[in-house]
Assembly symmetry: C2
């Protein structure tokens, strides 16, 4: 459940703006390579590499149909990241609230 290596890859995959753009587009629905990378001013090899990262991370899936590659988002890694963050953020908030309460108690004295 605490798969460090997978989280490494997921965070890393989303650290690049081009890859986040692609993910954001695929969140709107499947697309081909050309569609998913339109407007990113990147060479084709660069796009290919970014897609490979996303694919190996498990963030996207590819189906070759004719000469096009149809890409679709796989949200499981997103959910994993969200869960990791949510866990630690709320833990921190709990601690913080405890301190707040403690200070409030002291003010009452």
């Amino acid at each position: 459940m605490n798969n460090t290596a997978q989280l490494d890859r997921s965070f890393d995959a989303l650290a690049h703006p081009a890859r986040r753009t692609i993910v954001a587009r695929l969140a709107r629905g499947p697309a081909t390579v050309g569609e998913a990378s339109r407007g990113l001013s990147l060479s084709k090899p660069a796009v290919t590499k970014h897609l490979k990262v996303l694919e190996q991370t498990g963030l996207i899936r590819r189906t070759v149909v004719g000469r096009e590659h149809r890409l679709e988002l796989r949200p499981a890694p997103l959910a994993e990241i969200e869960s990791w963050i949510e866990r630690h953020r709320t833990l921190w908030e709990a601690k913080f609230d405890a301190v707040e309460r403690h200070l409030a108690d002291k003010r009452k004295e």
Copy 2:
């Protein structure tokens, strides 16, 4: 609201297991550099560099008290990441559900 550069830095900061470990510890409450990095088998310069990344990303804050540096988590970047992911994941789920409903409708025909 859509601060790409900040998201770049935040995702990147959390992509390294050592930095995630430090963040996880600080979620339990403040700690010194030594405490926060205990058990990570890393040289001191390496720890210093990781802390610098976390600090510049805004994920931690440092208060020098005597010869110790007291570190505390700043959860805002975590919240930003969580929000980005949540937005796109739910968008995808909405699309997915729409397809599911469409298929269900077709099965009824």
